[in-house]
Symmetry: C2
Subunit: 389 residues, 2 copies
DNA sequence: ACCGGTTGCGAAAGCGTTCCCGGTACTTCC
DNA sequence: GGAAGTACCGGGAACGCTTTCGCAACCGGT
C-alpha cells in the first residue's frame, strides 16, 4: 500500500518507472512524482571520518549563535568578556580547530604562501625556505612547497596546484629550462602577488630578491687570478636565467680587466641536473690544454669537479684551483675546503617574504615592483690557494 | 524627508540614535528600526584581487546549471558528451582553476597530505619527501611540509596547523625531544590516518615505516670489529626514539657477540641538534683512553667527528675508524669517504604514502596498523679501512 | 495507449566560516 | 521623559563546490 508523500492519497498512485534503481511512483491527485525514502538503510554507514567540532557545535553547547562564537574566537569588539571566555573554554574542551578551508572560502584568502623551487636536495633552497618560514609563520601564514625538479612541465603543473589552492602569494625560483614565465602570468591576472628569488628572469615586471651575482663572480675570478691562475675555466648555467648570465659576465669582465684572454672553449654549460655536473667536469678536465683554475656557478658543480679531478689524480689547488658559489655546508667538509661566495640564504627567504607581504598589503592600484640585491662574501678555503705561488 | 523602507511612511519616522556611525530611524507605524543604505559609497572599492572564474561563470556562459558543469568537469555519468565538451572548452577559455578550498569544504577532504619532519637541511628528509611526492602527486594529492626544527613545541604547533588545514593524512617523523605522541592523538580521534616513519616511538598503535636499525647497527659495528677496532665508541641519539634505541642495542649486541667489552663511557648521547654533534665529537676525542673506532647514529654526527678529528690531527681511519648511518650524498664527498649504512630514502617515502593510502581507503571499522621494515646496506668507504690491519 | 526504463539536466541543500545588518536592553543626558 | 548613545547578540547571505533528488523527454515493447 503506497501513500503519496504529499497528500497521503492511496488510490491515485501509479508506478512510474525506475529511477536510480528505485521504484518511482506518481500521484495523480497532486500530480507529483516521488520515490520512497530508503527506509533506514545504513543509518551508520561509514563514519570512520568522525565529525570535527565546528563553531556551530560550540554555539549549540552555549545556546548562542555562531556569529557570537566567531566574534569571540577572533577577539572582536561587540562581545562580552564573559561570553568570550565561555566560548574559549568550550572551544578548548571540544578541542576545536578552525577549518581553514571554510575560512579561506569565506575570506577569499588561504593564509598560505606557495613556494616553487627547482629542487631541495642541496642545502641552498632548504635554507631559503627556512628563512621564509621564519617570517611567514609568525604572521599566521604557512607555506606550501612545490619542487619542479628542474622540469619546465612540472613547474607549470605546480603553478596550477598553487592557483587551485588559492595561495595568497608566491615565491618562485625558476628551473634552468624555463623559457618564459607565461605560466606565472595567471597569478598577475588574479592579483596574486609574486616574488621571484635567486633564479629570476629579466623579462618580467615583478619584485625580485637576488644576490649581486656579477660582483660575486667578479670577486671569485679575481681571487683565482691573484692566486696565480693563468687559464681559468667557468662552468656556466642555462642562459635563460639572469643569475647565470650575470655570473658569466662577472667571470668575463674579471678576466678582461686583468688583461687575461677570454677563451670560449673554457666555458662549459651546465643544465643544472645533477648528472650534468659530472659530465661538465669530465669534459673540462679532458681537454688537452687543461685549465689551472675553475670558477663554477655553484658549489655542487665545483664539488663534482673536485671529485673527478681527484679520480684523475689532478691535485687541487696546485694543478686546479677551484671556486664555487653559495657556501653550502658541504663546501666546508670536502677536502680541500672549497673557496666559495657565501650567499645569505636565510636572508634571501626572509627578504622575499617581506617583499611579498609588502605587496600583499599594498592598496594603491599600481604596485611598483622592487628588486633587492643582497651581497655575497668570499669565503677563502684551501681549494683556491696554490702552494707554489 | 525620510521614508520608512518598509511602509514608505514619512510622518511616523523618528530618529532613533546612531548605530555604527550611521543615523538610525524608527517607523512608529510598522514598529521597525532601520538605517539608510550607504548610498552608492565606494562602488568600486579595492578590487585589486580580481574575480577568479568559477563553475557559475561557466554555467552562465553556457546557459546551463552549475550542477551540470560540475558533472562535466569530473567526467561524471549522466552527462551528454556534447555538453561535456562545451563545458571543457569554456573552462579552458576562461582559464578555470577549481577552487580547492571550496572542493575541500564540500567533500570534507582536502586532497592534501601533511608531512612533519624534524629538519630538512640534511638530505635524508628531502629524499624521503621526494619519494612521498612521487606517489602522492600522481594520485592527485599534494603535500604540505612542516618542519619542527627539532622542537617539541613546534611539532605540536605543526599538528595544529595540519589539523586546521584538514589534511587527509599525515606522515610524521618525530623530534628527538618528543616525550609522547599525545599531540597526534587528535588525528586518531578525527579519523585521519597517520603513518610514522624513521623516527617513531613504540608507544603508539599506528602504521610505521622504518629500516632495520638494529641490524644496520650490528652490521656497522661488526664491520669495525673486523677491521681491527678494539675500543669502539657510539654516538647515540635520544632514547625516546625507537630508532636510536635500536641502533644502540645493535651496537651493544655486536660488541657482546664478538666478546668485546661494553664500556658505557664510550657511549655519548647526541640530542640531534647540529651544534650538539660537534660537542659530542669533542667530548669523545678528549677522553684519555681514546677510542679507535666510532659508530655514529647518523652521517652528520660521523662527519662532524671526522672534522674534529682532523683538527686534532687524529688520522682517519688508522687512529679512528668511522661508520655512519644513512648514506647521505655528503658521505661520499668527505675525505676519506665515509663508510655508512645506506637507507633507501625515497623508498621510505613511497612506502609510507602507500601505507597511508591503504589506510585511507580502508573501509573496515577496525584498521590494523602495519609496520614495514626496509633493509639497510653497508657501503664501505675508506673511513673504516685501517691500513695497518 | 500505457508501462517500464533511460538520458540529461536543474534546483537546492549542505560544507564551516565571515560579516553585514538589525534588533533588544540598557544607560546617560538635557 | 524622550532622544541619544552603548553594549551585545542573532539572523542570514555569501564564499564555490558537490551531491541528492526531482522531473521532463524520450524510446521501445506490449
Amino acid at each position: 500500500m503506497i501513500k503519496c508523500v504529499k497528500c497521503s492519497e492511496v488510490d491515485a498512485i501509479a508506478k512510474a518507472g525506475i529511477i536510480r534503481g528505485k521504484q518511482r511512483y506518481y500521484c495523480a491527485r497532486c500530480d507529483y512524482y516521488f520515490t520512497l525514502p530508503a527506509a533506514e538503510i545504513s543509518i551508520a554507514t561509514n563514519s570512520s571520518r568522525k565529525h570535527q567540532p565546528t563553531i556551530v557545535d560550540i554555539a549549540r553547547e552555549l545556546q548562542i549563535s555562531k556569529s557570537t562564537v566567531s566574534r569571540a574566537l577572533h577577539g572582536h569588539a561587540d562581545i562580552n568578556e564573559e561570553t568570550r571566555k565561555a566560548v574559549l573554554d568550550v572551544a578548548k574542551k571540544l578541542d576545536y580547530q578552525p577549518n581553514l578551508l571554510a575560512y579561506g572560502l569565506a575570506k577569499s584568502k588561504s593564509l598560505t604562501i606557495g613556494i616553487i623551487v627547482p629542487e631541495f636536495i642541496n642545502s641552498f633552497f632548504p635554507y631559503v625556505i627556512i628563512g621564509a618560514q621564519e617570517i611567514a609563520n609568525p604572521a599566521g601564514y604557512h607555506v606550501l612547497i612545490c619542487q619542479s625538479n628542474e622540469s619546465y612541465q612540472t613547474e607549470i603543473d605546480n603553478t596550477n596546484v598553487l592557483m587551485s589552492s588559492r595561495v595568497d602569494g608566491i615565491l618562485a625560483s625558476l628551473t634552468g629550462k624555463t623559457p618564459n614565465v607565461d605560466h606565472f602570468k595567471k597569478f598577475e591576472r588574479a592579483g596574486i602577488p609574486i616574488v621571484y628569488f635567486n633564479r629570476v628572469t629579466t623579462d618580467v615586471c615583478a619584485s625580485k630578491v637576488i644576490v649581486d651575482d656579477y660582483d660575486g663572480a667578479y670577486q671569485g675570478v679575481t681571487h683565482l687570478i691573484q692566486n696565480g691562475c693563468k687559464r681559468i675555466a667557468h662552468i656556466a648555467g642555462p642562459q635563460n636565467l639572469q643569475i647565470c648570465r650575470d655570473r658569466l659576465q662577472g667571470y668575463k669582465d674579471a678576466l678582461l680587466h686583468h688583461d687575461m684572454e677570454l677563451n670560449e672553449s673554457l666555458i662549459i654549460y651546465h643544465d643544472l641536473n645533477p648528472e650534468s655536473a659530472l659530465h661538465c667536469a669530465q669534459h673540462l678536465l679532458d681537454v688537452p690544454d687543461r685549465p689551472d683554475g675553475l670558477f663554477a656557478l655553484n658549489d655542487p658543480a665545483a664539488i663534482a669537479t673536485m671529485q673527478v679531478a681527484k679520480e684523475k689524480g689532478i691535485r687541487i689547488p696546485d694543478e686546479l684551483a677551484v671556486v664555487g658559489f653559495s657556501n653550502e655546508p658541504t663546501s666546508a667538509l670536502v677536502e680541500p675546503g672549497l673557496t666559495t661566495l657565501a650567499q645569505p640564504m636565510a636572508e634571501i627567504g626572509k627578504t622575499a617574504v617581506n617583499l611579498l607581504f609588502k605587496q600583499m598589503n599594498d592598496t594603491s592600484d599600481c604596485f611598483i615592483p622592487e628588486t633587492k640585491i643582497l651581497k655575497t662574501t668570499l669565503i677563502v678555503r684551501k681549494s683556491s690557494l696554490k702552494r707554489q705561488f
